[in-house]
Symmetry: C2
Subunit: 332 residues, 2 copies
């Protein structure tokens, strides 16, 4: 039986963190056995807002690949590749730009939010404005049908499918495939400061590569319940970051439920609670950290060089079909 | 002495006409001896608004090349190539999209006018919206410094130079060169109906490949002075299409000046005037038509295949420098 193709990616603008782990990396480790999986280091997309800091991107490239392999994404099973090195993608992107109107792009809520969050104001780089089209190129180049994402990415997959249907209809082809989102249970992890999203740029995330000391320090600085001063005080669970992380990462769900009851009644202190979370996270991160330490730079380079070669073959094949469908194969 | 590089191009959406001839083709024939000249068939740009009619583009490709060679652009001196076949262009375009904001694009008067003229309303294809960036990729890929254009294209060259300066500054390089417009004396030719611009889409142009009969018919249907009924009537020169064309194409400028005086005083009929213009145009077009008839399809294909190969080598070299400047040459 032919396996369906799954595609995911990350912008290399720093190391990956627990938000990535719970939101998508964990799924990828599971998915790689049931699907043919492509994992993309999205450096071209990172440039759409980090264009003036390309060093950050180059420096993060191997860190992200190390994160992938440390958590269990196997470069012999999954194809890990670098976006900028895939020759077919820019032309696909350019051709898809004719399938979408500017007002359609303006209506994508994900992009609207990001524009606000990044404070672009009226100065939105065209590349950033158009990145959902670039993502459609990424997805379709590999004929991916399964996209493990958070729910904030659903409108972008919707746009991708619109492009697919429009392109196939206009050019009378079926060479592009529609994709569907594979939503993970926890799609977004709050930051340790209680901010809506743990993020590299907000500096409120626990990184997969953080040392045990840093993890502990971050756990003990987590936002809990500001009115819960003494151990005997009644505590609030809602908005309490420690409980959010316990829900996400502690295996024993019953224990977490009991702790919530005790915390709300009073008598459970933040220190005890944070100690438990710290143990949970250290247990999760220890093998990842060990694996990471064993990875040599040359090995990581070989992995992405090899993955990129395999990915280029697949994407070239799709581009060939696309170029033929549009009728640009004059010299064939 | 190293020759400076000139670049021009045309969208292959039909045959070329007298407006192209006087606006740019004539200059190119002159320029090809003093500059290293690249002439691009801009099929990717044509797709930005003809995306649903790719057959029109494919069908026009060789017609446009035939027009080039018929007027005297020598494929052994100038490099004639096809935009879609230049591998470096889409990635340059994508990288340049980060150098420009959406509001900067919205302010380009040329694009504003075209959006109105084409009746896009709120449905502007992203590809069309961004075509000035794509043109910057075309220009810089060949390190072109001389761009023979009409004055309506000046804002696009201005944008290109902004991109060049910004890119070179951000990535600390000098691999991109600024370009300057080479304006021809007649930058825009009115249509035979008196409309502002002779254009393929308005159907008011005299094509280089029109038969003598069609040329004559078009000349004799030209808009003159609607109040000039009898030969003895006083005539108006302003807005009179026949005089616009005589100004543009009749070699003897003194004769045209005398005719204007006679026409305005009364006593010179439209038929005599149109006969003179017809002779002028037939003399201009006859050798072009003959040359065109001698061109075989295989020869035209060889010309652009060969030109495209030469162009790819140059553009690949530039892309290599650009990729290195941005720092995307991880595997180098």
């Amino acid at each position: 039986m032919i396996k369906k193709i799954a595609l995911t990616g990350d912008r290399p603008t720093g190391c990956l963190h627990l938000g990535h782990y719970i939101g998508t990396l964990k799924s990828r480790v599971e998915l790689q056995n049931s699907y043919e999986q492509y994992v993309m280091v999205a450096d071209i997309q990172a440039l759409t807002d980090y264009y003036s800091n390309p060093k950050k991107i180059a420096d993060s490239l191997l860190e992200v690949v190390a994160d992938y392999i440390s958590v269990g994404i196997d470069p012999n099973i999954s194809t890990i590749f670098v976006q900028s090195q895939i020759k077919a993608l820019p032309l696909l992107n350019v051709l898809f730009m004719n399938m979408v109107t500017t007002s359609r792009l303006e209506r994508i809520p994900t992009v609207k939010n990001e524009i606000l969050q990044k404070g672009f104001g009226d100065s939105i780089p065209v590349g950033f404005f158009g990145y959902p089209i670039s993502q459609a190129a990424d997805i379709t180049a590999f004929k991916a049908q399964i996209i493990p994402v958070g729910d904030d990415q659903l409108p972008i997959i919707e746009l991708c499918n619109e492009i697919v249907r429009r392109f196939n209809r206009i050019y009378n082809t079926n060479c592009l495939l529609e994709a569907e989102a594979y939503l993970s249970k926890t799609t977004r992890l709050v930051g340790i400061d209680g901010q809506a999203k743990a993020s590299k740029s907000l500096g409120n995330a626990i990184f997969l590569s953080d040392t045990p000391e840093v993890v502990k320090e971050k756990v003990f600085s987590m936002y809990t319940d500001p009115d819960h001063i003494k151990v005997s005080d009644l505590g609030k669970v809602e908005g309490n970051v420690v409980f959010v992380y316990l829900d996400a990462f502690h295996e024993n769900k019953e224990e977490v439920a009991e702790l919530k009851v005790r915390y709300q009644k009073g008598g459970l202190g933040d220190v005890a609670l944070k100690s438990l979370l710290n143990n949970t996270l250290q247990n999760l991160l220890e093998p990842i950290r060990e694996k990471r330490a064993s990875l040599k730079k040359d090995f990581l380079m070989d992995c992405i060089s090899d993955g990129t070669k395999r990915a280029n073959i697949v994407a070239d094949k799709t581009l060939e079909e696309v170029v033929e469908a549009v009728g640009l194969n004059y010299f064939a």
